[in-house]
């Protein structure tokens, strides 16, 4: 799907997350990179070095915003100050779409700063979709929601995670940031077939794909973003690309960050699957 209404009809290739240890390399060497993803919250500030760096990056690269604290699934109303600052940043970056997680993390104005899993209920889907719509209407750009890794499931759930995702995106009429690493992590923690998940997602709504590494512990898998992408995740990615076509792809590497070249090399492995996939083949 070279471009759709959920990613602003763009045709982005393979990007990597913009991280502080790489600033110097990027600004001095100017490597060829299709695009960078920034964590919005790191730049929702009044001034100083982070915005100065961002402006230099914006002068040379395409940038897409990805958030970590909108908490579409929180029962709380959207934080007006958060939205105001986010809109300022959107104007600065000209991001063609904006993503954040399908999760919750704050309640009664208190923030956990974590991506907590949703109860998969119809009430939660309705509340979440309403919030996605409100945020999109305020920001006036396409929104994509990202599936998260989870370590817990709730008794009250009335559907599977992918059914919940579909329910939200249909009600909100928004896009999906499909994180195939998160699907894999959750599938291992909750014992479901990750391909069933990937095959159930409405391919025409996929605006972007995330790939990343994870860590295995004795009793569960943790989404740590501190390793290269593992084979089972590449297999899911391959399947996602078969369904969604050539889709903007982003490698996340947030901890134990190696050199820029190593991160970029890892991201470019996605080309093995993207080559020749310019059209969506929904299967």
């Amino acid at each position: 799907m070279p471009g759709n209404r959920f990613n602003g009809f763009t045709d982005y290739g393979i990007g990597i997350g913009l991280r502080a240890p790489h600033y110097e390399h990027i600004l001095s060497r100017k490597p060829v990179v299709d695009w960078f993803e920034i964590i919005s919250e790191n730049f929702m500030i009044d001034g100083g070095r982070p915005l100065h760096i961002l402006d230099q990056i914006l002068g040379q690269y395409k940038v897409v915003q990805h958030g970590v604290s909108m908490y579409f699934g929180s029962a709380d109303k959207p934080d007006r100050e958060h939205l105001r600052r986010l809109k300022e940043l959107v104007k600065r970056t000209n991001t063609p779409w904006l993503s954040d997680h399908l999760c919750w993390g704050s309640v009664d104005g208190r923030y956990t700063h974590d991506l907590l899993p949703m109860p998969y209920t119809f009430e939660a889907a309705r509340v979440t979709a309403q919030k996605v719509r409100e945020v999109r209407d305020f920001l006036e750009i396409p929104i994509a929601v990202e599936n998260v890794s989870s370590y817990a499931e709730f008794h009250v759930s009335e559907m599977t995670e992918w059914e919940f995702l579909n329910e939200v995106v249909e009600q909100a009429d928004c896009g999906i940031l499909l994180d195939v690493n998160n699907i894999y992590v959750s599938s291992q923690n909750h014992k479901f077939d990750p391909f069933t998940y990937v095959n159930s997602v409405p391919a025409e709504r996929v605006a972007q794909i995330h790939i990343a590494g994870h860590s295995k512990f004795k009793k569960y898998i943790l989404d740590t973003h501190d390793h290269p992408v593992l084979d089972p995740v590449w297999k899911l990615y391959e399947r996602a690309i078969q369904r969604a076509g050539h889709t903007a792809t982003l490698l996340e590497w947030d901890d134990s960050i190696p050199s820029f070249q190593e991160v970029h090399r890892e991201a470019l492995k996605a080309n093995r699957f993207l080559a020749g996939r310019s059209l969506a083949v929904a299967v």
């Binding site: 500030i45 001034g47 100083g48 817990a152 499931e153 009250v156 009793k219």
Partner: protein, 306 residues
């Protein structure tokens, strides 16, 4: 269970402090067993009980917020010692959990909270409060707002008799009782080079920090925490400069601010003009003056005069 009720129940458990061995407490918020509390809303699976699944989030929460505090307040950590700092942070975050979408603001209430809970800093109260103020000023100066700088032509529009100058929002002015600027720089320098340290080197650095804190003598200092070329600097200033800048920031005219600055000054009368001139030149060169936002009534008044 409704969405809001469920989220409140989960958040109470997730934000409840860990045990000393960094595990989830056996006692649930409000009493009762945590295992029963968790089982009420979380499914177990073949590998993990409801308690264990909830514990993953409980631990992640505390590791994240404590890590953020340690990153933002390394100076206070050096003053209090690692263990007391951690206990203090747990108490602070229990009383003042984050109410902002960004972790940047996690320590915004720490100074006020410490003044209300002085037992955490009882034998080093003044030093600890000085350090917290400096570290928060450091954060504010790093990413605070920079307004358009004042230009010569902006001055020409202002009546000299009522000349007011605005200080850049990112410039932080502090009156302190200890030279904590030196201490913080020493602590940060040690941390910056810690990535190649062996255990012995780390231990030596820790002892060096303890010695630096122990030998610190009280001395009143005045600081402007500001940034230049996007780096934060701690600039020591004279008491008269501090008073002048404070007066300007509070909206006093330049004339009145100068009067106030020298009220209790030991600077000889004959030297004051040169002192003021030098100070203003320095601040202008550092970019500390910015254009004043005109209030609507000022705009109207000027238009009427025209």
């Amino acid at each position: 269970m409704k969405l809001l009720a469920l989220q409140r129940a989960v958040a109470r458990a997730v934000m409840q402090p860990l045990t000393p061995s960094e595990r989830m407490q056996r006692k649930a918020p409000g009493g009762g067993r945590m295992s029963a509390y968790a089982a009420r809303f979380i499914k177990p699976n073949d590998c993990l009980t409801s308690f264990e699944r909830l514990e993953i989030y409980n631990r992640q929460y505390w590791f994240r917020v404590l890590g953020s505090m340690a990153e933002d307040f390394p100076g206070l950590r050096a003053v209090l010692g690692g263990q007391r700092f951690e206990f203090m942070c747990k108490a602070y975050l229990t009383d003042c959990p984050s109410r902002s979408f960004t972790l940047r603001n996690l320590g915004s209430h720490l100074e006020t909270w410490l003044r209300q809970n002085p037992s955490w800093i009882r034998d080093r109260r003044v030093l600890a409060l000085d350090m917290v103020r400096l570290e928060w000023a450091d954060i504010e100066a790093f990413d605070g707002q920079a307004k358009p700088p004042l230009r010569a032509e902006d001055l020409s529009k202002i009546e000299v008799a009522n000349l007011q100058l605005t200080i850049q929002p990112y410039v932080q002015l502090l009156e302190l009782h200890y030279p904590v600027d030196d201490l913080l720089l020493e602590v940060k320098h040690g941390d910056d080079t810690s990535d190649f340290g062996s255990n012995a080197v780390q231990e030596r650095r820790k002892r060096s920090k303890v010695r630096a804190v122990a030998k610190l003598e009280p001395a009143q200092i005045f600081l402007a925490v500001h940034r230049l070329d996007f780096s934060v600097y701690f600039r020591r200033i004279e008491p008269e400069e501090f008073a002048l800048l404070k007066a300007l920031r509070s909206g006093k005219t330049v004339e009145r601010a100068i009067e106030l600055a020298f009220r209790k000054s030991s600077v000889p009368l004959a030297d004051r003009a040169a002192f003021v001139q030098h100070s203003f030149q320095t601040w202008a060169a550092l970019g500390w003056f910015c254009r004043r936002e005109e209030k609507m009534r000022d705009v109207k008044a000027r238009e009427n005069r025209a």
